[in-house]
């Protein structure tokens, strides 16, 4: 999947437009760009820097400070495996290991076909359902290592 450069410029500029000449626009713009492209590409950050007159280093500093921003392409589906205490004692490590094995990726990695990104998280706040996995916005509880594959298969 390649994105045309001219296309990027137009789309990023459209996101910047409402914030021109105003203060406090950097984070909303970064969020907008990430929403549009799935991650923050370098040329997008360069355009933001030029248009808002914020040095590239500062844009990069903000983008790397917040966990919500990603500088690398992410998968179409985000798998969040809870590694909190409750999930841990109920075997979330085994689920994590199994997902890594099935998808052949490391923690915080993305599959080559950009299908999945795997993110261990500290707690999803659903300890009663431990062990818990979230795929995109759907929560799956009381999982077993064997139960994870059919769920992954449902996501293309």
């Amino acid at each position: 999947m390649t994105i045309q450069t001219t296309d990027v410029e137009q789309r990023v500029k459209a996101i910047i437009e409402p914030w021109k000449g105003k203060k406090g626009g950097l984070i909303p713009i970064l969020q907008g760009v990430q929403h549009e492209f799935g991650y923050l590409q370098e040329d997008a950050m360069e355009i933001i820097s030029r248009e808002l007159r914020i040095p590239t280093a500062e844009v990069y500093g903000v983008a790397t400070f917040y966990a919500q921003f990603h500088l690398k392409p992410r998968g179409r589906h985000i798998i969040r495996i809870c590694r909190g205490t409750a999930c841990h004692v109920r075997g979330s490590l085994k689920i994590l290991e199994r997902v890594k094995e099935i998808l052949k990726i490391e923690e915080n990695g993305t599959t080559d076909d950009l299908r999945f990104t795997l993110e261990p998280v500290a707690c999803l706040g659903a300890c009663g359902l431990a062990p818990v996995v979230m795929i995109n916005d759907v929560t799956y509880g009381r999982l077993t290592p064997d139960g994870i594959k059919p769920i992954l298969d449902k996501h293309e």
Binding site: E42, R50, P55, A57, E58, Y60
Partner: protein, 684 residues
């Protein structure tokens, strides 16, 4: 301004409303330890070393960021504070690899000094830091992130003083490091200008300059001498560290001045490197294809004989570097111009300066100073670049322009031929195809802006140019011309930076000043124009050696006396004139190629670090150069050489008249009274 009184450690201290506790303490000689604080940069209070206790306030407050209030009772040295500071130091030491014995800056480190001062003999915390890279990708600057304490001084100096904002902080917590541009290593950065300011302000061994490492710690140096950088027309103040008779490093001085104590890549590197260059140490006389050593008597005798012969035939000339001090320039004038009555004196790149002088002349005749101190760029709300390339001509001016635009919110306009040196931050870019078009643009704008500012209601006079005509003439879209006019008309204090190339046409300089007057670019000391004259003391040559009309290369001469500082390359035109002269005397501290090849007699000269004197700078000040390292061996000062030469010639030098800078910095009439002049006056 309201005066306030504080009690700090029992001492009554006076301050002004708005001061921080630290400022009041320092002014009253009360010591408070600091680490991330650096005078001249925005305080951020991140290192917590300057914490103080204020009575009736339960918290410990950072002195560098807390505003002082009348009646405050401050304690800086309580047991609680000392313990807290020691604890902070321990945490900093545990945060990265701060093992002093492996660091090139050991003994030259503010962190180490504070640890010793606070008796920090052990660290109670586990060393949990991650391993970082030692970024050695840059040719001159090394950045070992393992020694970083995240004081952010480098980021602040890069953003607030240099204006490039190459550096910033990436990530957070344990993983936070200094980064350049979009996550680049320093050597891969596209914005870094290699000025080395980050290394100068680094309190630890994180950012170091390869050349100065192991050349001597700052406090081990035998001497630290303040002088002036001769390399461009700003004349930045420098601090040269001397160790065992050689220059160990060169740094910028006072951070409270507008330039913030920064140096550009020229000053930072050229000056110390020149101390390593091969010197001309004794007089030499050409014999066929090589030089032989000679005594001063023999060499000066030969010079005098050839000089006299040529002088009789009116075929002699003197070509002097514009890096000479006022005193040296006066010596040349008093012997050659006033004593011998010679007309042919000039400086290298004299044409550039002559262009400026001619273009400024109509305004000088009005008694108005047609230019202003360079740092006024920082006070401007609209900075206009007129064919200048500040990053090459005078990089600290480029810093002023960047900081003015990015931090002070000024607009940046570029009215140049073919170039746009600040493309990323320029508001309106009017790049013409030919120099003539860009001059025509400035000329036309002066008329249009004058009309607009004079009074909106007055009908346009006949014969005046219209926006459409101007756009057609210059190839700049009408809309762009309109935008420029609106920016200039709407700004309170615009400032115009004139590139050296503009002065080829004195009319262009006059138009630029006209445009400045039209847009009311009025500063206290003169009209808001900053001319990028060539080098250190170019302004000083105006009243001394600068010829009224160019003579170099106009006629084949029999004798030419060339005085060069060997620091900047000579211009092509002068070199070809030198090579065509029958007998050439070159006086130069270094074996400066290709200049020395043309010499019949070579005379040693003191290098920049062996001379003292004064420069007239475009910062609007007469600045003093000091001897950093006394000259050794056969090297003699210019005064004693010219004295012997004048005896050989049988001439008595005239006493130097007034100082070369005499009338340069004063404006007889208020700059606001300046009126525009017609270009016919200049171009005839």
């Amino acid at each position: 301004m309201n005066n306030i009184t504080l009690t700090i450690d029992g001492k009554t201290c006076d301050g002004v409303q708005g001061d921080t506790i630290l400022e009041v303490a320092r002014r009253n000689d009360v010591y408070i330890p600091t680490l991330c604080f650096l005078e001249g940069l925005t305080p951020i209070g991140s290192c917590r070393m300057c914490v103080v206790e204020v009575e009736k306030n339960p918290k410990m407050l950072t002195a560098c960021t807390t505003p002082a209030q009348d009646g405050m009772v401050v304690h800086t040295q309580t047991e609680k504070l000392r313990e807290f500071r020691r604890q902070m130091l321990e945490l900093i030491f545990a945060g990265r690899n701060h093992f002093c014995m492996y660091c090139s800056q050991s003994g030259d480190c503010e962190l180490q000094d504070l640890a010793i001062e606070h008796g920090m003999d052990s660290v109670r915390y586990p060393y949990l830091y991650a391993g970082f890279d030692n970024d050695a990708t840059h040719r001159d600057i090394q950045m070992d992130h393992n020694r970083c304490i995240l004081c952010l001084r480098c980021i602040r100096v890069c953003a607030e003083k240099v204006g490039t904002h190459t550096l910033d902080l990436q990530k957070r917590g344990w993983n936070a490091t200094i980064v350049s541009d979009l996550g680049r290593r320093l050597g891969e950065s596209s914005t870094c200008t290699t000025c080395g300011a980050c290394a100068q302000v680094c309190p630890t061994g994180t950012i170091t300059l390869r050349e100065f490492a192991y050349r001597g710690r700052r406090k081990d140096c035998d001497d630290v001498v303040e002088s002036v950088c001769p390399l461009c027309s700003i004349g930045c103040r420098i601090k040269a560290y001397v160790r065992t008779g050689s220059i160990a490093r060169v740094e910028g001085t006072s951070v409270t001045e507008p330039d913030g104590g920064q140096l550009c890549k020229k000053g930072r590197w050229t000056l110390p490197r020149s101390a390593e260059r091969e010197r001309i140490s004794v007089p030499m006389i050409r014999e066929g294809s090589h030089y032989r050593e000679a005594s001063w008597e023999e060499a000066l005798d030969l010079v005098a004989r050839n000089f006299q012969k040529a002088h009789g035939a009116d075929s002699d000339g003197i070509l002097v570097s514009s890096l000479c001090t006022d005193e040296e320039l006066s010596l040349f004038v008093s012997l050659f111009k006033d004593g011998l009555g010679m007309e042919r004196l000039d400086t290298f790149d004299g044409d550039v300066l002559r262009g400026f002088v001619k273009g400024f002349e109509p305004f000088r005749r009005q008694g108005v100073r047609p230019f202003t101190a360079a740092h006024n760029i920082l006070d401007s709300d609209c900075i206009v670049n007129l064919s200048a390339d500040p990053d090459e001509e005078a990089p600290v001016i480029a810093s002023y322009m960047r900081v003015g635009t990015l931090r002070n919110g000024a607009s940046l306009l570029n009215l140049s031929c073919k170039t746009s040196p600040f493309a990323d931050i320029t508001d309106v870019d009017a790049v013409t195809a030919t120099p003539a078009q860009s001059v025509a643009l400035v000329e036309g704008l002066a008329e249009l802006v004058a009309d607009l500012k004079a009074s909106g209601s007055e009908a346009q006079e006949e014969g005046k140019i219209s926006v459409g005509e101007l756009a057609g003439k210059t190839g700049i879209p009408e809309e762009t011309v309109e935008r420029i006019i609106n920016k200039l008309a709407g700004s309170q204090r615009p400032v115009f930076v004139l590139g050296g190339c503009l002065s080829r046409d004195p009319g262009a300089v006059t138009s630029a000043v006209n445009l400045a007057i039209a847009s009311r670019a009025i500063f206290e000391d003169g009209i808001g124009v900053v001319p990028l004259v060539v080098s250190g003391n170019s302004l000083g040559t105006i009243n001394t050696v600068l010829a009224k009309e160019p003579w170099i290369g106009r006629k084949k001469l029999d004798f030419l006396y060339v005085y060069s500082t060997g620091l900047v390359p000579e211009d092509e035109e002068s070199l070809s004139a030198i090579s065509g002269t029958k007998f050439v005397v070159v006086q130069c501290p270094f074996w400066a190629q290709p200049l020395v090849n043309f010499a019949d007699v070579l005379l040693p000269a003191p290098a920049w670090f062996e001379r003292s004197g004064h420069y007239c700078t475009i910062e609007g000040e007469r600045r003093r150069l000091n001897v950093v390292v006394p000259p050794k061996g056969e090297i003699r000062g210019l005064a004693s050489i010219l004295k012997d030469l004048s005896a050989g010639l049988g001439v008595e030098p005239e006493k130097p008249k007034e100082s070369p800078c005499g009338n340069l910095f004063a404006s007889e009439k208020p700059p606001a009274d300046a009126r525009m002049v017609s270009l016919e006056e200049v171009r005839n």
